[in-house]
Subunit: 327 residues, 2 copies
């Protein structure tokens, strides 16, 4: 690859002059500027981003933290956000937590080592890691601290919509399959569902998935040890686990939606292809991803930006897993 | 965040001394070294990777190029590879092509701007972009050039296995749903399937998916304009499109596997949850991802590493979409 030294050789100018030109850091004559510009174009010179980062204190690098990419919702989000970052000629450093605080710390150190201009966090495990950092951060779903903007779906409202929908479908015995308690967004979905049930004078039976399962991976149906004879309307905390629940129901000789109606939360890109296709609460992945990136972009330009939580409205999306009305 | 200046202040030493210590670039007394070490530990100082990259000519950065992350196979691959990169305290710069040569060029320039130590490419569109680069590259599936190591599944053998399996299941009228022709791995799968059919004296009917569809996204079944009455054994070029094909078959009033048996290629993590679960050729995502990273790691350490293509064996994985034998 062409180096700054090569450009100096081609133009007959000093490296110091080339460097001043490239970093706008001092006087370069018009004649020299033209020669340098021509040489850069002819050789397809690619400026060194590391040098530029040191000189300008702007690295042009954005950290993107995800638990993993196996949940199609996060994979799609990373694709959208990563494409926006690339389009703006910024670099996207990808960090993984796998919902593990130690890995999250390693990712944080990685980001700060690159002196990133900003960070987008998708589901933090260890808020204290991020609270003290002096760098713009937008967090999806997790409320981390007053200096960090949270973007979240209206989870409580989504939970309420889920209950109302199952009620309208004639369900009488409600089940909520709960996610891990530490994850705020999931707790909010449950709150909305239970509030709406209480208002309607209905009880909710809870299934807490146990063990070291991963939130983002469909669970082996054999690990769901619960008789679905006990309910006829099931709200699962996310789509990938709703898929496992539907498999478990079928393996118990029951049919979805004829015997039990099931719904999820997310509208991940796969949920329309589940069989039956899944009724879900649409978290608007495109709007949400764009909003996260645009807020970060604004925050980098203006650190005084309003830090209040941005709540993205949700919509109930009716598909086949809740079709028909119970008599 | 703590800066090198802060460390100088705490230790009472010059920035030049701190820099010599951190970059192992000159003499620092034992007493000063101990003071610096203590200050770094007490303040959780995170070294500037950009500065280190400039000084050592090793950026510690790896470029990872993907078409997008919506195909669960690539999402899982990126998760595995990204975790390996992070575990080795390297940074993972993520680039997207969306199968578009212009975006691929932008990603290449991004990688080279960071002076990455190496690149892992998942499906290149424009081989010429990468051939002339003086940087270690491992390419999954695409054969780019003699200096670049290709890692690929045994696609021809996989195609042959697919045919043999459908034949054993009593299929008599074979259909191959073809991927885009520019993508070598898909052409190889077809070659294997057709070769095995020819050897068995059977004909194959082709469906070429048309238009500007994306290879990695399940297609709307209404866009598959073909009567599946014409065959009873269908081999689709990948899993996500096998899902669309199964939907199309069902929308034509036929059943899988009772009327038509269907199989895919990949064994993406979702394919076991399709309904019916999908018989497929397992591309061994874990082995493949590990191999790509380990080869790149070796290539960075030793540029003279053998550049021959590494072929990963495949296995046929029988599930419900080909259950039963036709009489």
């Amino acid at each position: 690859m062409v180096s700054m030294r090569d450009i100096a050789k081609i133009t007959g100018l000093s490296i110091a002059t080339i460097s001043r030109y490239m970093n706008h850091s001092g006087y370069v004559s018009e004649e020299a500027s033209l020669r340098i510009q021509k040489a850069l174009e002819e050789t397809d010179y690619i400026p060194n981003r590391n040098a530029h980062a040191l000189l300008t204190k702007r690295s042009g690098t954005i950290g993107l933290l995800v638990p993993s990419l196996v949940n199609p919702y996060f994979a799609y989000m990373a694709t959208r956000i990563g494409n926006r970052i690339q389009k703006d000629q910024r670099g996207c450093i990808l960090g993984f937590t796998e919902d593990n605080a130690k890995k999250e710390k390693r990712a944080m150190e990685m980001f700060m080592g690159y002196r990133v201009d900003g960070i987008i966090i998708v589901r933090a495990v260890e808020p204290t890691l991020w609270q003290a950092l002096d760098v713009p951060i937008v967090s999806f779903e997790s409320h981390i601290g007053p200096q960090i903007i949270t973007v979240t779906a209206d989870n409580v409202r989504g939970g309420r919509q889920a209950f109302r929908h199952l009620l309208e479908k004639g369900c009488r015995r409600f089940i909520h399959v709960r996610g891990p308690r530490w994850f705020t967004a999931l707790a909010e979905r449950e709150t909305g569902f239970v509030e709406a049930a209480t208002e309607a004078g209905k009880e909710v039976l809870f299934i807490q998935l146990e063990g070291d399962y991963q939130v983002d991976v469909s669970l082996d149906e054999r690990r769901i040890d619960f008789s679905f004879q006990r309910g006829d309307g099931v709200f699962v905390f996310n789509d990938v686990n709703a898929l496992s629940v539907m498999q478990a129901i079928k393996s118990q000789g029951l049919s979805v939606p004829e015997d039990v109606k099931v719904m999820g939360f997310d509208n991940n890109i796969a949920s329309q292809f589940y069989n039956p296709s899944l009724t879900t609460v649409d978290q608007k992945v495109v709007e949400t991803s764009n909003l996260c990136y645009e807020l970060l972009d604004q925050l980098i330009a203006d650190p005084s930006l309003d830090k209040r939580t941005r709540v993205v409205p949700v919509d109930l999306l009716e598909r086949h897993s809740t079709a028909g009305v119970f008599a």
